[in-house]
């Protein structure tokens, strides 16, 4: 440091030196005059005795300038020049560094910011999602009934607070275009449990979820902006589902619980009947454990409460338990295995990059060792040589790592835009400096470790030997090291290839899965009726039917239908029901089925085949005998040996029997990966559930579905101008979206393994080309002594094959052991699928043979005469 400061003081030093030398001359002139010289003579003599002042000054400056800082600058420039001299080496090295550092930066940013960074609430480790569960079904979380929730809240001591919430879309009217809000009904303690405050105004008071409380709403920052970002919004009235509500607060921009889509929160106000309902499980519950209690305390206490409730209400609560999940995990959910897989892939890629870089530097080191030897022999300082190599490696790592970080910026933008709506907390992903520095440092360490090899060899090898070896002769251990690195590269690449192969096979499987309905030319949009405008089943049914009729009569419409849950979307409300003639035994879990309320013509419009019986018709009216359609799974499960047509079922809480009139084919309602299970379809015209006031309008069109949206909007608004159209899209789009994550993972894994394979191939080629060049004279002699060119070819090929086979074997064993962890990402593919493994092995052998082909041909064409002449 001192030296660097001195270096910068050079300017002052120069003027100091000039005046110092001037003083020297003047002193001398004075002395000479005192001895009797003429002044002119004295001046000349003084100048002559002093010598060339410029040279002296230059020599002085050099003393200072030859400090470390200056040398590092010079080494740096030297390093850049050296890299530019060997463009092939530099390109490959920089490419692998940039890709390795880039991918790892992107993925690790995502992992650290989504999985590792705590939720943005105070003491997030004390926050848990509290799910119900059926003890007989293990750890599958279920929603919680209102009555159970209120009992938990009263009886629990381990929790500081418990809060419930449920999605309840509402219509916002009185604005230009009515819009559907993603609203959450939340109990009064919701915000205080999370520990968040409003950015403007306030959140709910503890008694604001009483039935008689005035209707208030807290809105998200996003909605506040959409409403004009007025600073005076607090206290203003808005119309939600036709009722006036007062905005009491605006949440801060980052607050997005339970999802980034949420627009508003309103109090969960339940009348006494709903409050004591134990059958409808529809609430999600969160809890904050007291600071002096542990998760185990809370779990034990909740078990106790569950047992107490089961004893008190055996009809509904027998066999029920509680599942505590850290809220962080709950938020991240299914993204976890995806991100961890990507991270593992990125790390493997980084290892390959490091091995490749090491390989390149070792190869380069062989030629450098000779140069270093020569320079050492000519008197260069060893420390100085080592430093130069260090600087050169650092320059490489710096540029490669820098390029990687630059590459990570668009990579993160890509991940963020891709993950919007698919990956929770995706909006939080950003380039983190420590992560970038960490990954770049890995590159630097590798570069330094292997870049120093030639300097290290100076100490192991006699200098003279080094020089005497001439232009050939590679230290044997370097070649062995390079061979080992190739084996490692191939091994790692085969792990990635197996993963990519399995994921690809799984994706192919997924994409070829028949969704069970016709997804093309199908426009879907969701209508949710406000209770205030449509309080009864009759009014709701009337509106749904009017919309259906009017849309059906539009030109270019092929078919129209309405269904209570959008296919492929994954919402599957299930209900318990009873079968006629089958006594209910308390020991048996009650029969359950997903419920879909549909209009006439719905199955036809969606392209769901009716395999038996008939679809609902306009004759199935409110007053006519109740009817139902079941899907094939339901028919098979409950009437395995009989004809389901004519059998009767009823909801457990409803005494009305419904006769099965048709059997519909199963569809992939939950998304392509899952079966929908037993499903019961009932007609809208006969529905008795007043709360079920929503529908998805499905319109099959002759042309591009989206082109029909304006006409449909006009129809809907002509009937009710306050009715918003939500979730507008096509079923095809929904299908594409449902496979977005598998496609993304497969594409990423494919790219990673492709790059890995490319690098391995370049490595194999490089090593073989080098050894062949080295051994050409030997091959020439062998040929001269009668070896056939096939023997020579085999000699070279064998070297490549041995390494590739060793690497592939190790890699496939590793992949076999690791494959199980891919399980959760695979669909319809055995993680130990022998075909995938065999394909990877075959691919590796073929590719390595291709890589070895050119060097092998060179070796086979070695000219004995030329080789002998060269000796």
């Amino acid at each position: 440091m001192k030296r660097i400061l001195r270096y910068f003081r050079l300017g002052r030093f120069e003027s100091d030196l000039a005046s110092e030398m001037q003083a020297h001359l003047e002193e001398k002139i004075t002395d000479l005059i005192a001895e009797g010289s003429e002044p002119e003579e004295a001046r000349k003599r003084a100048l002559r005795d002093f010598g060339n002042r410029t040279q002296v000054a230059e020599a002085c400056r050099r003393q200072w300038a030859f400090t470390r800082f200056d040398e590092i600058l010079r080494d740096f420039r030297c390093g850049v020049r050296a890299l530019r001299r060997s463009p092939a080496f530099t390109t490959v090295a920089l490419f692998s560094l940039a890709v390795g550092v880039g991918t790892n930066t992107v993925v690790f940013c995502a992992v650290s910011q989504i999985l590792l960074r705590p939720l943005p609430y105070p003491s997030p480790d004390r926050l848990f999602a509290v799910w119900g569960r059926s003890l007989s079904r293990g750890d599958t979380p279920t929603h919680v009934s209102a009555a159970d929730f209120y009992d938990w809240r009263t009886q629990s001591r381990a929790f500081e607070s418990l809060a419930a919430y449920a999605a309840w879309p509402m219509n916002l009217t009185g604005v230009e275009e009515p819009r559907r809000l993603e609203t959450q009904l939340v109990s009064a303690g919701f915000f205080s449990t999370l520990g968040v405050q409003a950015a403007m105004g306030r959140t709910f008071l503890s008694d604001e979820d009483r039935e008689q409380s005035p209707f208030v709403v807290v809105i998200s920052h996003k909605l506040w902006r959409a409403l004009g970002a007025s600073p005076q919004i607090v206290g203003r009235q808005v119309t939600l589902n036709g009722s006036p509500a007062t905005v009491i607060g605006v949440m801060p921009a980052g607050f997005a619980f339970p999802s980034p889509q949420v627009d508003a929160w309103v109090p969960l106000t339940l009348d006494s009947q709903n409050r004591s309902n134990r059958e409808g499980r529809w609430l999600a519950v969160i809890g904050r454990i007291k600071s002096n209690r542990t998760r185990r305390d809370a779990a034990a206490e909740m078990d106790l409460i569950s047992r107490r409730l089961a004893a008190a209400y055996p009809a509904t609560d027998a066999g029920r338990g509680v599942l505590l999940v850290p809220l962080q995990e709950g938020v991240v959910g299914k993204t976890r295995p995806i991100l961890l897989t990507l991270q593992a892939g990125a790390l493997v890629l980084l290892l390959i990059m490091c091995a490749n870089l090491a390989n390149l530097l070792l190869a380069k080191g062989v030629s450098r060792a000779r140069e270093m030897g020569l320079r050492a022999a000519l008197g260069a300082d060893r420390a100085r040589l080592i430093r130069q190599l260090m600087v050169e490696s650092s320059v490489l790592a710096l540029f490669g790592g820098g390029a990687g970080v630059l590459l990570a910026i668009p990579g993160i933008a890509l991940l963020r835009s891709f993950g919007d709506g698919l990956i929770p907390r995706a909006a939080e992903i950003h380039l983190s400096v420590p992560v970038a520095v960490f990954t770049a440092a890995t590159a630097l360490v590798t570069a330094l470790t292997f870049g120093l090899a030639p300097a290290m060899q100076l100490s192991f090898f006699n200098l003279r030997e080094q020089l005497a070896a001439g232009t050939r002769g590679t230290p044997y251990h370097v070649e062995r090291k390079r061979g080992m690195l190739i084996t490692i590269e191939v091994g790692l690449a085969s792990v990635l290839l197996v993963a990519a192969g399995l994921l690809g096979e799984s994706l192919a499987h997924l994409l070829s899965t028949d969704p069970g309905l016709r997804t093309d030319h199908l426009l879907t949009l969701r209508l949710t009726l406000p209770h205030s405008g449509y309080p009864t089943n009759a009014t709701q049914i009337a509106l749904f039917e009017r919309i259906l009729e009017r849309v059906r009569s539009l030109p270019g419409i092929v078919a129209v239908g309405e269904i209570s849950e959008t296919p492929l979307k994954g919402n599957n409300p299930t209900f318990e029901f009873a079968l006629e003639g089958v006594p209910q035994s308390p020991s048996h879990a009650p029969a359950q089925a997903g419920l879909r309320v549909i209009s006439t013509g719905c199955l036809h419009a969606a392209g769901i085949p009716v395999v038996k019986g008939r679809e609902f018709t306009s004759n199935d009216r409110a007053g006519s005998p109740p009817v139902a359609i079941v899907n094939q799974t339901m028919a098979r499960r409950y009437w395995p040996a009989e004809d389901p047509l004519g059998r009767r079922v009823r909801f457990r809480e409803d005494q009305r029997w419904m006769a099965v009139v048709g059997v519909a084919a199963d569809i992939k309602h939950m998304g392509l990966k899952a079966d929908e299970g037993p499903v019961l379809y009932i007609p809208y015209s006969q529905k008795t559930q007043e709360w079920l006031a929503w529908t998805t309008l499905m319109v099959r069109t002759a042309g591009d579905p989206m082109e029909f949206l304006p006409a449909i909007r006009t129809v809907v608004h002509g009937i009710d101008k306050n009715q918003p159209l939500a979730e507008v899209g096509t079923l095809e789009g929904l299908l594409t979206r449902s496979t977005a994550i598998p496609r993304f993972i497969t594409a990423t894994a494919g790219t990673m393994s492709g790059v890995a394979l490319l690098i391995a191939v370049v490595g194999i080629y490089g090593l073989l080309a080098y050894t062949v060049a080295q051994r050409t004279p030997e091959f020439g002699i062998r040929l001269a002594l009668g070896a056939s060119s096939r023997d020579i070819g085999w000699l070279v090929l064998r070297q490549a094959l041995m390494r590739v086979l060793a690497g592939a074997a190790a890699g496939l064993i590793g992949a076999w052991l690791l494959a199980q962890s891919l399980q959760s990402l695979l669909f319809g593919v055995n993680p130990h699928d022998p075909a995938s493994f065999a394909a990877v092995a075959a691919l590796l052998v073929l590719i390595s043979l291709a890589a070895a082909a050119i060097p092998t041909r060179h070796a086979m064409r070695a000219d004995p005469a030329a080789a002998l002449r060269a000796e």
Binding site: E20, M21, A23, H24, E27, N52, Q55, V56, A59
Partner: protein
């Protein structure tokens, strides 16, 4: 100590001579040159200017320190002082030079056997 580039002297001799000269008292550049010339006779054939790079080396090594002062003739000059490290180095050098000279002398002595 880095070797001096020029002159008929053994490498490093000029630096040792400067250190020796400064042992008694701090001096400015011209005065150092004068003392060395007086003491060594014509041994220091080199140009006076070569004194200055040597002084820079000693400064970098930390064996001397320099400060601006005034000469006996009231000229503004840089005055060099031997530091503690310089004193230590000087005694090391003295021993080393002594050994070299001994060795040379032994070799140069005409054979008596």
């Amino acid at each position: 100590m880095p070797p001096t580039q020029k002159g008929d002297l053994l490498p490093g001799t000029l630096e040792v001579l400067i250190l020796v000269t400064l042992r008694r008292e701090p001096l400015h550049g011209y005065a150092i040159a004068q003392r060395i010339r007086e003491k060594s006779g014509d041994l220091l054939q080199a140009e006076e200017g070569s004194l200055y790079p040597a002084l820079q080396r000693l400064l970098i090594a930390g064996w001397v320190s320099a400060e601006w002062g005034v000469s006996s003739r009231k000229r503004r000059v840089r005055i060099y002082t031997l530091t503690a490290a310089g004193r230590k180095e000087l005694s090391r050098e003295t021993r080393r030079v002594g050994r070299i000279i001994d060795g040379i002398a032994r070799v140069m002595r005409p054979s008596e056997t």
